[in-house]
C-alpha cells in the first residue's frame, strides 16, 4: 500500500527536532540582522567570520571530549565550548593586535587559521564522526537542534533583545560617532566589549544550525540588502529582519524538501533577495535620471 509522504506542516507537528529547528531559525532571523547592523557599522564583519571559525574549534573539541569521556563523568555541551572559544577568541584578537599594531587584520587571519586547524585535528581524532556530521558543521544541519539547544537559543535571544532595548540610545550614538559617544559620557570601551561578546555568543549559539561557513552571511547579507533601500536606522533594521525571516522560511522549507544543508539554502535565498533589490535600485535610479533629463 502506498503511503504518502507527510506534508511539511504534518512533519512540523509530529517531528520535534524539525519544530526546534524552525524556532531556532526564526530566532536567528531576528537576532542576526539586529547584531549584523552594528557589525557592519563598526566594521566588525571580518571579526564575525574569524570568531565563527574559532568557535568551530570549540565545538569540535567539545564533541571530542563528549565521545571520549562518559557523560556520567563530564557532560559537555559542545555549544558551551563553542561559546567559550568564541568569547576567548575576542580576547585573543586583542592580544594578537598588540603584537601587530600596523597590521591589525593579521590577528584575525592567524586566529581563523588556528581555529580551522584545531577543528580539522579534532574532527580527525574523534571516533565515529561521519561525513554528514562534518558537512553539517560547515554548512548547517536542520536536525542539529535539540531540546537543550532551543533553551539556550531562546534565552540568548531574549537577553540580546533586552540589551538592545535598554541600550539602544548608546548603541546608536556609538555607531554614528564614537568620539562624541565617548565625550558625552558613554562608556565606549565597555559598550564595545559588550557588543563583541554578544557577537561571539550569537555566532556560537547558532553555529550548529547554520554552519560555520555561513553564519556571518546571515549576519551581514540581510542588512547589506536593507541598506540599499532604507532611509533610517530603524527602518533598515526592520527591513533586514523581514528579509532575513523570508530567507529563513524559504531556506528551511527548501532544505527540508530537498534534503539540502540549511545554511546553504538560507544564505542563497538571502543572496537572491539582495540581487532582486539591487536590480530594483538600479532600475529606480535610471528611471529617476530619465525623468530629470
Amino acid at each position: 500500500m502506498y503511503l504518502a509522504a507527510p506534508s511539511f506542516i504534518e512533519s512540523l507537528i509530529n517531528f520535534e527536532p524539525l519544530r526546534y529547528a524552525l524556532i531556532a531559525g526564526i530566532c536567528i532571523g531576528f537576532i542576526a540582522p539586529l547584531t549584523g547592523s552594528v557589525v557592519i557599522i563598526r566594521r566588525l564583519s571580518f571579526i564575525a567570520d574569524t570568531l565563527s571559525h574559532f568557535s568551530l574549534a570549540g565545538v569540535t573539541i567539545g564533541v571530542f571530549i563528549s565521545k571520549l569521556i562518559s557523560p556520567a563523568i563530564i557532560n559537555i555541551n559542545p555549544i558551551y565550548m563553542g561559546v567559550l572559544f568564541s568569547i576567548g577568541g575576542t580576547f585573543l584578537i586583542e592580544l594578537l593586535r598588540s603584537f601587530y599594531k600596523n597590521y591589525k587584520e593579521l590577528s584575525m587571519t592567524i586566529l581563523l587559521s588556528f581555529g580551522v586547524a584545531l577543528s580539522g585535528l579534532f574532527i580527525a581524532l574523534t571516533p565515529g564522526i561521519s561525513t554528514s556530521y562534518t558537512t553539517g558543521l560547515l554548512f548547517g544541519s536542520i536536525m542539529s537542534v535539540d531540546k537543550s539547544d532551543i533553551f539556550i537559543i531562546l534565552v540568548t535571544s531574549a537577553l540580546i533583545l533586552i540589551f538592545a532595548a535598554l541600550f539602544h540610545r548608546q548603541i546608536v550614538s556609538l555607531c554614528f560617532d564614537e568620539t562624541y559617544a565617548r565625550i558625552s559620557g558613554i562608556n565606549v570601551r565597555l559598550l564595545q566589549f559588550a557588543i563583541t561578546i554578544i557577537l561571539a555568543v550569537v555566532i556560537s549559539v547558532f553555529l550548529d544550525l547554520v554552519g560555520v561557513l555561513l553564519i556571518s552571511a546571515l549576519l551581514i547579507v540581510p542588512v547589506s540588502t536593507s541598506i540599499l533601500i532604507g532611509n533610517s536606522f530603524r527602518q533598515t533594521i526592520r527591513t533586514a529582519i523581514i528579509f532575513s525571516e523570508i530567507s529563513i522560511i524559504l531556506g528551511f522549507y527548501t532544505s527540508y524538501k530537498l534534503s539540502l544543508p540549511i545554511g546553504s539554502t538560507v544564505a542563497l535565498f538571502n543572496i537572491l533577495i539582495l540581487g532582486i533589490v539591487m536590480v530594483f535600485v538600479r532600475i529606480r535610479k535610471s528611471c529617476a535620471k530619465k525623468s530629470e533629463g
Binding site: 557592519i40 557599522i41 548608546q170 555607531c175 554614528f176 568620539t179 558625552s184 562608556n187 536606522f233
Partner: protein, 210 residues
C-alpha cells in the same frame, strides 16, 4: 565650568604643534581660538577633550585633572568633521534623540526650532547639505545642558540666518554661565561675545589678548 590649562605641549613626530600653552577660562567666560590653518586650534581642542593624549602639561575641569575623569558628562562638542559610517541610513531625529539623555521635552523642541532643523528633522543624514549637517551637530552639542561648550569651526558652511541663530544661542548660554571655547576663522562672529582671544602661530607659540 572652569578650565585650567598648564604648560600644555603637543607634537606630531618631530613637528611642534602646541608649545607650553597655559590659560584659565573661568566659569561663564568665552574664549575664541584664532590662528591660520594648521596652527593647532583643532589639536588644542582635541587635547582638551582627551581625543588626543597630552604628553606634556595638565588640563583641569573645575580643579579635576581630566586624566582622572573617565566620562565627560557636562561637555558639549561641535566637531569640525565627523567620522561616521557614510551610506548607512540614519536620520537627524535618530541622531539627536540618541544624543539626548531624557525623553523629548520642551527644551529639546526649542533647541531643534532655534536652529531651524524642523524642515529636515526626519531626513537621512547622508542627504543633508554641509550647513544642515553642521546645524545638527550644534543641536547635538546643546541638548544635554553642557557646562562647557567647545565648538570647532561651527560657522563653516552655514547660512547667515543660522549664524544669527547660533550667535543668539551662544549669547544666551553665556548669560547662563556656560563656559565656551570656539575655534573660528570668522573673528567678527565671536568678537562681541569673547572675553578674550588665544591666538596660535605656526611654531606652536601663542598670545592671549582681550
Amino acid at each position: 565650568m572652569q578650565v585650567r590649562v598648564n604648560n600644555l605641549s603637543f607634537a606630531y613626530t618631530s613637528k611642534t604643534i602646541l608649545n607650553d600653552i597655559s590659560f584659565t577660562l573661568e566659569t561663564g567666560e568665552f574664549l575664541s581660538l584664532v590662528g591660520k590653518n594648521g596652527t593647532g586650534k583643532s589639536t588644542l581642542i582635541k587635547c582638551l577633550l582627551k581625543i588626543l593624549k597630552v604628553p606634556d602639561g595638565t588640563v583641569f575641569y573645575d580643579n579635576v585633572d581630566i586624566n582622572t575623569i573617565k566620562l565627560f558628562k557636562n561637555v558639549g562638542y561641535v566637531p569640525q568633521k565627523v567620522e561616521f559610517s557614510y551610506e548607512f541610513p540614519i536620520t537627524v531625529s535618530e541622531i539627536l534623540s540618541s544624543a539626548y539623555r531624557k525623553k523629548k521635552d520642551e527644551y529639546y523642541t526649542k533647541t531643534i526650532n532655534a536652529l531651524g532643523i524642523n524642515p529636515f528633522y526626519h531626513d537621512n543624514i547622508n542627504n543633508l547639505s554641509g550647513g544642515q549637517f553642521q546645524k545638527v551637530m550644534i543641536a547635538r552639542a546643546l541638548l544635554n545642558h553642557p557646562k562647557l561648550l567647545i565648538l570647532d569651526e561651527p560657522t563653516v558652511g552655514i547660512d547667515h540666518e543660522s549664524m544669527l541663530a547660533l550667535y543668539e544661542i551662544l549669547e544666551n548660554l553665556k548669560q547662563d554661565r556656560v563656559s565656551i571655547i570656539i575655534s573660528t576663522h570668522d573673528i567678527d562672529f565671536s568678537r562681541e561675545l569673547s572675553d578674550y582671544f588665544l591666538e596660535l602661530n605656526e611654531v606652536g607659540d601663542y598670545r592671549i589678548y582681550r
